[in-house]
């Protein structure tokens, strides 16, 4: 049967990133909170040294800032390592992972348009899902978004990009 979770990875994390705080939610679900500047190095460590695969990233608007969670999957042990970080609302910036991880390309574009977080160093930070006519400063997944789409004009013709 599968291992519960690899103890070695957690030990190594503790040694390498002393600022990370680990929370084990369930046998194969681990959440790790790291400061914003450590995320890039941490993700690189998980992807290149531990052969984790980037599953997806989640952006959440919380009261004290925007939270970004990068979900990494370690397939040999079936464990999810979710890296959480908090981006303060007055400085919505974080270093992009897309330069070494093509898998992060689309999801960072999505978070950028739905939550308005800037990914520094992303090669192509244009909207992914919303229409061409959608105003770029309107972020529907934010807390203060109050059904502003109801006032938007519906465009009936657009040229193909």
């Amino acid at each position: 049967m599968k291992k519960e979770y690899s103890k070695e990875i957690l030990d190594e994390i503790g040694a390498k990133f002393p600022q990370a705080s680990v929370k084990i939610h369930a046998p194969r679900r681990t959440y790790i909170r790291v400061p914003r500047d450590d995320v890039y190095g941490f993700a690189k460590f998980l992807f290149e040294e531990k052969e984790c695969r980037l599953s997806i990233a989640t952006g959440i608007d919380k009261r004290d800032g925007m939270e970004i969670i990068y979900h990494f999957s370690h397939d040999p042990s079936g464990t999810y390592y979710s890296i959480k970080t908090l981006v303060p609302k007055d400085d919505l910036k974080i270093k992009s992972l897309a330069d070494f991880l093509p898998a992060a390309n689309w999801i960072e574009r999505e978070i950028h348009e739905l939550l308005g977080i800037d990914f520094v160093g992303h090669p192509n930070l244009i909207p992914l899902l919303t229409a061409e006519t959608w105003p770029g400063d309107l972020h529907p997944l934010r807390r203060d978004y109050a059904d502003e789409h109801k006032d938007l004009k519906v465009e009936k013709s657009t040229e193909e990009r």
Partner: protein, 391 residues
């Protein structure tokens, strides 16, 4: 000289509208641009305005082909957040429906892939044997698609004892036909020539793009949630993970066809070992916290993340469908192949490839080659090969 071949967003055959821009030099594809969003309905936004139970029905309508996978992953996520487990009988029921759905989805792909290379016979035959499966869904759950079998804490409907024999009977038919299809598709020299060595996705690229499901397993990257992180009844049944190293379209087709027979094996074992008992655990409230649910859908791992603040609605619900990771890998898979092969390569990840007359007139200097023409090119290539093999 570089020219642009647009594909999409509308097409008569495939499912979703999507827009591919093939950048070609002569016959060769040198690059690909993908533009999505024609199908964006804002599920994550709507989910935050619905109660926990309603979201099950909402996520079901993300995709009609994997309409069991999304609710499945969602209920697993909520169960993870609430620390409850479904009773054993419900776990077996959910596993059976999940596997039957895999068969129906893979058959759908085989049929459409057959159509793309001009083998409409494959399409008609495969879809003919898919039809009794939909009847079984209707028998158990009352609808041909959108089954609504999953519920937080269990299953919504029971599989009645009188249904067992009908499912068994269908599996017998399917087992015979599946062997026939596998042989017919894989032994046909023309199909082999069309699929072999086309659209190769190397293992390194597969890892970097984080591809999932048959796309990854066809490239030698063994990722399968059912093995890695077994849930429900998957660790109580015996089956094999199908992995091929070639990375071409043929490998992906092989993975899908052979997976069908594994699915038949799983369903049979589940029916045999199904325990009696209740089909649902009562879940009164979802405590504050977060949960992750993963389910191996026909196209790869479906991932759901929910966060609760103790109220009756999710605070955040993140949905990741496998195609979100698989489609970007087309950019490397299609590079270097001819336009006639592009139709097939783009379809190989089982995405939603669109091939029709474009509804937009292109600017000067760019050649207009529509999806229909691409299909015709693809068919012509098969025709040529067929003639060569006849000799």
């Amino acid at each position: 000289m570089k020219r642009i071949v647009p594909i999409g967003p509308y097409h008569p055959l495939q499912e979703e509208p999507e827009f591919f821009k093939l950048i070609v030099e002569g016959e060769k594809v040198v690059d690909l641009e993908i533009n999505i969003g024609y199908n964006h309905r804002g599920h994550e936004f709507v989910a935050q305005k619905m109660t926990w139970d309603q979201v099950t029905f909402l996520v079901e309508r993300i995709c009609g082909i994997c309409s069991d996978s999304h609710p499945y992953a969602y209920v697993l996520a909520v169960e993870d957040a609430a620390h409850v487990t479904a009773p054993p009988r419900a776990q077996y029921i959910r596993t059976i429906i999940g596997e039957l759905e895999r068969i129906h989805s893979h058959y759908l792909w085989v049929g459409l892939a057959g159509h793309f290379i001009g083998y409409n016979t494959v399409w008609m035959w495969v879809w003919r044997y898919r039809e009794p499966l939909l009847d079984i869904f209707e028998l158990i759950m009352g609808n041909r698609n959108h089954y609504a079998i999953n519920k937080v804490g269990g299953a919504r409907r029971d599989i009645l004892p009188e249904h067992y024999s009908k499912i068994e009977k269908y599996l017998d038919l399917l087992e015979e036909k599946n062997t026939m299809f596998t042989k017919a598709v894989l032994d046909d020299p023309v199909i082999r020539a069309r699929l072999e060595g086309v659209g190769i996705l190397s293992k390194e690229d597969a890892v970097a793009y984080g591809v999932l499901g048959p796309t990854a397993r066809g490239s030698g990257y063994a990722t399968d949630v059912r093995k890695d992180d077994p849930y429900d009844a998957y660790d109580k049944v015996d089956w094999n993970e199908i992995v091929f190293d070639e990375g071409d379209v043929l490998a992906k087709a092989k993975v899908r066809l052979l997976e069908c027979s594994e699915s038949i094996k799983i369903v049979r074992q589940c029916l045999r070992n199904m325990p009696d008992g209740p089909i649902e655990t009562r879940v009164d409230e979802i405590p504050p916290g977060e949960g992750i649910g993963r389910h191996e859908a026909p196209r790869g791992e479906v991932f759901h993340y929910v966060r609760s603040d103790g109220s009756n609605m999710p605070v955040r619900h993140k949905i990741r469908a496998p195609s979100f990771m698989n489609i970007p890998s087309n950019v490397v898979a299609v590079r270097g192949y001819s336009i006639a092969d592009a139709a097939l390569v783009l379809a190989a990840v089982d995405p939603c490839y669109c091939c029709t007359e474009r509804t937009v007139v292109l600017r000067n200097g760019k050649r207009e080659l529509t999806g229909k023409d691409m299909l015709r090119l693809s068919w012509r290539k098969t025709e040529r090969l067929r003639r060569r093999y006849r000799r």
